[in-house]
Structures are given as structure tokens and as C-alpha cells.
């Protein structure tokens, strides 16, 4: 991965982070809403090699930790996103990939998003994070999954195009 690719990718990540923190966070959506940063990181991870996916997950998680509304210790999201991105890339990369088609990719991102939330919940109490009542947790898990299922098909073509333009140009350069 060249310095140029890392630079451009970082800029794209920063833009997505600003969109999440300034635009999407304006709305108190029912069921907990969605995180465009998680969807973006997982989408890019699924389209990338494992090595790149790990870096993508790490960067995305780092930005999520930098978010002021993040409740856990710094590094918790970084670790979770790193593992999730590497995992999803491990299953998705290559000709014999696990997903096979756009619908498969969408459902994989929804499942990975759910897994990320569950990992946060499981690791939270170990790191001193309060997580709320069962009802609230259940609502957020279901709500974020439904929102991710609704949003991913809309944004996936854009993210795929962006990934293709950056990484194909980077490979040729």
C-alpha cells in the first residue's frame, strides 16, 4: 500500500467521519440509527485484501474512538473494528469468496455490524463500560441492524466506486 493510497484513503475516512459526527448525529433516529463509518469501513474491508482490510479496520476504529460520544476506553473500537474488518475480508476476498453477489455482501455487512456491536457489548463490562438495560440493548441491536440493512444498499455502489477509483488508480500508478 503506497503512501499516496494511504493519504487518499485517510482523507476519505476523515470526510466520512465528519459526515457521521456532524450530519448523521443531528438526527435521533428510532432504534439507535446507524453508523456510516462502520458501514464504510466494513464495505471497503470486504473489497480489499486482508492486509489492507486490517489497516482499514484499524483506521476506522481509531476514528470511532476519537468520536466524543464514544463511551469505552480509547482503543476499544480500534481493536473491535480491526478484528471485524480482517474477519470479513478473510471470508470475502478471492474468487471462491464466501458472499457471492451484492445481496450477499449487504447481508454480510449487516451481520458484521451486528457482530461489532456484540463484541463491544461483551468487551465493555471488562473495560468498565456501563451498557444499560436488556431492553435497550436489544432495541439498539435490532434497530442498528435494520438501519444498516436499509442504508447499505444505498451507499454500497458509491463506496464501491470510490474504492475502485482509488485502488485501481493506485495500482496502475
Amino acid at each position: 500500500m503506497s503512501i499516496r493510497l494511504i493519504g487518499i484513503s485517510s482523507l476519505v475516512f476523515l470526510c466520512i467521519f465528519v459526515v457521521q459526527e456532524s450530519l448523521i448525529s443531528q438526527f435521533r433516529l428510532p432504534g439507535g440509527g446507524f453508523s456510516i463509518l462502520i458501514i464504510f469501513a466494513l464495505s471497503w474491508a470486504i473489497m480489499s485484501e486482508r492486509e489492507v482490510a486490517a489497516v482499514i479496520g484499524f483506521s476506522g476504529g481509531l476514528l470511532m474512538d476519537l468520536s466524543q460520544s464514544s463511551s469505552g476506553p480509547f482503543g476499544q473500537w480500534t481493536l473491535i473494528m480491526l478484528l471485524a474488518s480482517y474477519g470479513i475480508s478473510y471470508l470475502g476476498y478471492g474468487d471462491d469468496n464466501f458472499f457471492g453477489g451484492a445481496i450477499g455482501v449487504v447481508f454480510s455487512i449487516v451481520l458484521a455490524n451486528l457482530l461489532v456491536e456484540v463484541l463491544f457489548l461483551l468487551s465493555g463490562p471488562l473495560l468498565g463500560v456501563s451498557i444499560g438495560s436488556f431492553g435497550q440493548i436489544f432495541t439498539i441491536l435490532i434497530g442498528t441492524s435494520v438501519w444498516t440493512l436499509f442504508i447499505t444498499p444505498i451507499v454500497l455502489p458509491l463506496f464501491a466506486k470510490l474504492h475502485k477509483s482509488i485502488y485501481q488508480a493506485g495500482t496502475l500508478a
Partner: protein
């Protein structure tokens, strides 16, 4: 992937995992560097949040009003006849009215108790992904706001200042699972602790098990040393369910907050506590039933004609 490539990927993965764990350790040990990094990020993001908040205010009002569309059909028909600019103006006005109403409530509350407050607009909602309940307000240390100050809504407690930046502050809402507040019950003066649980209801645990508590009992904040994080006498909520299960060490109950955390647009940070404890001065008035007018009709029978 070649064997060399695989081992390189594994090495990278291990390095990144170790880095993540290192960051977690640094944070848990309270290293300042990470706080500064977060503060820098917030300083970068808060102007965007402010712009987005101003730009999206009419749209947000539109979304919240959408649920009422079915109930106000005639009003919609009338509005449809108006032009687009007038619609936008009305939406902006409606948003301003809501904020004005909330501000008036807050000023009434703070004025009665003698709190010195700084008002601020909510410029961003916290992310649910971390299972936390937070909002960001558009005033910070430049306006005299500091960490661990009480935050009020028009109805009572809203939360505390968790992080403060020059021009913004992060508020931990009272509904956050990590929120704890010492409270007293207005009638019995029993004291206990209230814990948020991610929704509008919270769990009350009393320190004394001997006295009875009842549904509808009002809770007020107890106050902290030097009024931080909590000033005394702020309405918190009322008891909705009492847990009377046998064998419990401390009596517990479910409490509903007065504040509706889904409709916060203006908040006030208490920067100066009252000179004396306001006591029960802020206990909300119970709604008075409106008497139904009874109409009595006296009918005088007309005399029937006699033959």
C-alpha cells in the same frame, strides 16, 4: 497469497492488535495525550456540527412533525397552498418557538432556585453505537462551562458536563447507563441513588429499607460538595413502579425522568449554585383536573289545556 505474503499479513495483524491493546492500556491508565487528541478532534468537528445543526433544523422539525400528519389534514391542505419560502419560514419559526418554550422553562426553573446558568443549543446527538446517551452543546469553556457541572432541561435534570472544549461541551444525559445521582424523596426525605439504564426510566436504590415508598413520589437531587456535579433541589423524576420483592437488601423502584431526552434542543448548564438550598421549591405541580361544566336545564311544564 504467497507464504511470504501470508506471514507479512499476520505480522501486520499482530502489530495492529498490540497497538490497539496498548492504546486501551494507556487510556485506562489516564494518559493525557489521548485526551488532547480527542479534544483536538472535537475542535475540528464542532464548526461542522454547528453548521449542520443550523442547516438541518427545519428538516428535523419536519421529521418530528411527520407523525402528526394524519391528525392535521385540514392544516396540511392549507399549508400546501402556500409557497415554498413561506413553508420554510414557518418551519424555522416552529423550531424557534420550541426552543423559546424550552428556554423559558429553563429560566423559570433556574430563577426560582437561584441557579446561575449558561444556556446552550444542542448541536449534535451522541452515537448509539457505543450504547451511551450523550449530546453536544454549542458552548464550552469560553462561556464558563467546566467539567462536572449540572445540566438542566426545562423540566429538571438533564445530565452533567462530561467533557468540555473551548466552544462546545459533551453532556452525559441522565439516561446514560453510566449516570449516577444521589436523590431524596420529597415527602419521606429518604435518600438513595438513581442509575440510568439507557432509556427514560431509571432504577432507584434506597439506602434505608425501613420506610415505604409509593408510586408517584417525586425525587429531587441531593446536591454535591461545592455543587459539583449536582446542585441541590433539581426535580429528577417520579416513581412509577415499586419493587417489593422479598429478600432484597435495599428497596428499589423504577423512576421516570421528567426530562424527555428525545426532544432536547436547548439546555442550561449551572455555572453557579444557589446561595441556599432551594429545598422543595422546584417540586413540579401535579396537573389539576379541569372541572367539567355541568349544564342544568330547568324545564317548567306548560299547563295542559283543560276542557
Amino acid at each position: 497469497m504467497s507464504k511470504g505474503g501470508q506471514s507479512r499479513t499476520r505480522l501486520l495483524l499482530v502489530i495492529l492488535i498490540v497497538t490497539s491493546l496498548f492504546l486501551v492500556t494507556l487510556d485506562l491508565r489516564g494518559v493525557q495525550l489521548l485526551d488532547n487528541l480527542k479534544q483536538g478532534t472535537q475542535n475540528l468537528v464542532s464548526p461542522f456540527q454547528r453548521i449542520a445543526n443550523s442547516a438541518l433544523s427545519p428538516i428535523k422539525s419536519f421529521f418530528s412533525d411527520a407523525s402528526l400528519l394524519g391528525r392535521s389534514g385540514s392544516q396540511i391542505e392549507k399549508l400546501e397552498k402556500e409557497n415554498a419560502s413561506l413553508k420554510l419560514e414557518l418551519l424555522e419559526r416552529a423550531d424557534a418557538d420550541v426552543q423559546l418554550q424550552q428556554l423559558k422553562g429553563i429560566l423559570d426553573l433556574a430563577g426560582t432556585a437561584g441557579y446561575k446558568i449558561v444556556n446552550a443549543k444542542v448541536i449534535s446527538q451522541g452515537s448509539y453505537q457505543s450504547f451511551a446517551q450523550t449530546v453536544t452543546i454549542g458552548s464550552g469553556s469560553n462561556a464558563g462551562i467546566a467539567q462536572n457541572m449540572t445540566v438542566l432541561s426545562e423540566y429538571g435534570i438533564a445530565g452533567i458536563v462530561k467533557e468540555v472544549y473551548p466552544n462546545s461541551a459533551l453532556i452525559q444525559l441522565a439516561s446514560d447507563p453510566g449516570f449516577r445521582i444521589g436523590v431524596r424523596i420529597v415527602n419521606s426525605q429518604q435518600i438513595g441513588f438513581l442509575s440510568g439504564r439507557g432509556e427514560r426510566s431509571a432504577v432507584l436504590q434506597l439506602l434505608d429499607n425501613s420506610t415505604d415508598i409509593n408510586e408517584g413520589d417525586v425525587l429531587m437531587s441531593r446536591g454535591s460538595i461545592a455543587n459539583r456535579p449536582f446542585v441541590p433541589g433539581v426535580p429528577v423524576g417520579y416513581i412509577t413502579t415499586v419493587d417489593n420483592s422479598a429478600g432484597t437488601i435495599a428497596q428499589s423502584a423504577t423512576v421516570r425522568y421528567y426530562t424527555d431526552f428525545s426532544k432536547l434542543s436547548v439546555l442550561a448548564v449551572v455555572v453557579g449554585g444557589p446561595k441556599s438550598n432551594p429545598g422543595d421549591a422546584l417540586v413540579p405541580q401535579k396537573p389539576q383536573p379541569i372541572p367539567t361544566p355541568t349544564v342544568t336545564v330547568f324545564v317548567t311544564p306548560t299547563p295542559s289545556p283543560t276542557n
